[in-house]
């Protein structure tokens, strides 16, 4: 179980998080820090970076499951080890305070505290991020966006911040800004298949609201993003789902005798030529087949196929069922 504590528990299912945080008292008890003023390796128990990573993840799990007592212990231990002034510890302390805050007045107070810290030391990234997260969670989307843009101006290589900004923009319905931010994330982590798929989803969404003129090009872009994400990660459910959705939409748009439209996209601009109709059809078929396979095998609980999230499987099945219904009609 310790091994799963080593990984950040952001996407743990609730049951696992609960299980982890239930171990907290035991782990914390074992976790005695040496009382020697200086560390002498062969006299004190060795501490590894993992020790502290585990403690940090334990803190997050405890906060998720509402075990504030263990969380406080985690924070205290981390503070004891790294000192009050450590940026990261300050961020975790802020996170803890936010979690146990009972009313808006508490949060306001925290906000003022963050502002004071940042005024003194504007390079404190964890606190800057906490401040933005707090702004967002208290509903001040615009302020959060402004703060995040300022943050990214001073630190434009932070993938996490770019992803957060993309999410913020998306929640406000600003598609082109979202796409820009997601592309920035991809520049930093070029092989993140989930971001490729996410970008495909956002492009698809923007295609839904765009006028008739640009929709084909957007759909083609979206298809390409999904293709890339599947290329990077075999059997990626979100990728196939998106691929099926986008190719289906494109096929419904195109007349059957559609020629690879050189009219839509100007080859002189250097854009790659759109795929031919046959390709789109083939992609749609493959996506459908793959989705069906994933749903079937996952529902049967086959070994190696049980890692999918239940909600995603249900959504995929719904999509497939809709297709079947249409055919029957």
């Amino acid at each position: 179980m310790t091994s799963s504590l080593l990984h950040p528990p952001a996407h743990l299912p609730p049951s696992v998080a609960l299980h982890l945080s239930q171990q907290a008292p035991l782990l914390l008890q074992n976790h005695s820090t040496s009382k020697l003023p200086i560390s002498i390796p062969f006299l004190s128990t060795s501490e590894t970076p993992e020790t502290w990573a585990i403690l940090e993840n334990l803190l997050l799990s405890c906060l998720r499951t509402g075990d504030d007592k263990s969380a406080r212990l985690c924070v205290e231990k981390l503070t004891e080890r790294f000192g009050e002034e450590n940026d990261r510890v300050m961020g975790l302390q802020g996170l803890f305070e936010e979690a146990v805050a009972e009313n808006d007045a508490d949060l306001e107070e925290l906000m003022a505290e963050y502002d004071a810290i940042l005024k003194e030391n504007p390079t404190n990234m964890p606190i800057a991020k906490r401040r933005i997260a707090l702004l967002r969670s208290t509903g001040k989307l615009e302020e959060a966006t402004v703060a995040l843009v300022a943050f990214l101006d001073s630190s434009p290589t932070d993938a996490e911040a770019w992803a957060e900004l993309a999410d913020l923009y998306l929640s406000q319905g600003l598609f082109s800004q979202t796409i820009y931010c997601l592309e920035e994330v991809l520049l930093i982590v070029p092989n993140a298949w989930n971001i490729h798929a996410r970008l495909g989803e956002v492009i698809y969404m923007s295609a839904q609201v765009s006028g008739e003129s640009g929709i084909e090009k957007l759909l083609v872009d979206s298809i390409r993003r999904f293709c890339r994400s599947i290329e990077l990660c075999d059997d990626y459910l979100r990728g196939f789902y998106g691929l099926k959705l986008t190719t289906g939409r494109l096929l419904s748009l195109l007349p059957q005798n559609f020629k690879p439209a050189s009219t839509v996209i100007n080859p002189a601009a250097g854009e790659p030529a759109p795929p031919t109709l046959a390709y789109v059809q083939r992609l749609n078929e493959i996506a459908t087949a793959k989705l069906a396979e994933i749903v079937r095998r996952s529902n049967a609980g086959e070994k190696g196929w049980d890692g999918y999230e239940q909600a995603e499987i249900i959504a995929a099945r719904a999509l497939l069922d809709k297709d079947v219904a249409k055919v029957e009609k």
Binding site: T123, S154, T157
Partner: protein
């Protein structure tokens, strides 16, 4: 034959207790002291200010853009290029845009450079002073003693290594003088320090000398001191300008179909 004759020297056993043993203990203790001294002398890493961070990371952004350009479609890449290249060329990301075009500061007068040199000085002092003291202590108290005999024969070449301070031509190489014992300790205690102090200790002066040989190897950082950031921005702008862009999205559907059809 020289080897056939075994030289016998009757040594006072007190030599062992009062010379060999003290030298070893003193060497280990100095090593430990040096380690903690260095730890204490080390200046806390200087906090970079927000402007400096912006400068470094903006340049880094250009580099990642250049390296990972294929994930972008052509139009997105073009848009980024149109934004970043003029910004680089006008020095928009520089720590202080006014200093653009001025010669880089002299490292001798640059306070940041001075600080670095102070750090190096401190490190050197922490190695030099104890070494000198102990060497002179041994020289004045114990020079000229033969303190032990190695249990194995050696060739004549080792004579200068094992018998420094004892100028006797005919003495067998296996006899070790006190001064040589000091040198052997100086170079040979690394594993003991590793045991006591952990892996990255500052006790051994060999490691310290090694670090002096190539300074900056571990320092990292994008900007070496004395380098003009503006030049680096101009360079990067040029690199981006000439970059021939291709995109990974080209023909991805063909690749994917080929891939999936085989399976």
């Amino acid at each position: 034959m020289a080897q056939a004759l075994t030289q016998t020297i009757y040594r006072d056993p007190a030599l062992f207790y009062w010379i060999l043993f003290p030298i070893t203990v003193v060497m280990i203790l100095t090593g430990i002291l040096r380690h903690y001294g260095t730890v204490l002398l080390q200046a806390a890493p200087k906090k970079e200010d927000i402007k400096g961070r912006r400068e470094t990371r903006s340049l880094l952004r250009g580099i990642t853009l250049r390296n990972n350009a294929p994930v972008l479609s052509r139009s997105s890449f073009q848009a980024r290029k149109n934004y970043i290249i003029p910004a680089y060329q006008s020095g928009q990301f520089l720590k202080d845009p006014d200093a653009k075009g001025q010669p880089p500061p002299n490292p001798m007068t640059d306070p940041a450079g001075m600080e670095q040199m102070m750090g190096m000085m401190k490190g050197n002092m922490a190695t030099m002073i104890p070494q000198t003291l102990i060497m002179s202590w041994i020289n004045s108290f114990f020079s000229g003693f033969i303190i032990m005999k190695l249990p194995f024969p050696l060739t004549i070449r080792f004579k200068s290594m094992l018998q420094s301070g004892v100028a006797t031509r005919d003495l067998d190489v296996r006899w070790v003088s006190s001064l040589s014992w000091y040198f052997l300790n100086l170079f040979g205690l690394q594993s003991i320090f590793t045991f006591i102090l952990g892996n990255d200790n500052a006790a051994n002066q060999m490691a310290a000398q090694m670090a002096q040989m190539n300074p900056g190897a571990g320092a990292g950082g994008l900007f070496a001191p004395g380098q003009d950031p503006d030049k680096m921005f101009q360079n990067e702008a040029e690199n981006l300008e000439v970059l021939e862009h291709w995109t990974v999205l080209d023909g991805v559907e063909e690749r994917l179909l080929d891939d999936l059809d085989i399976v």
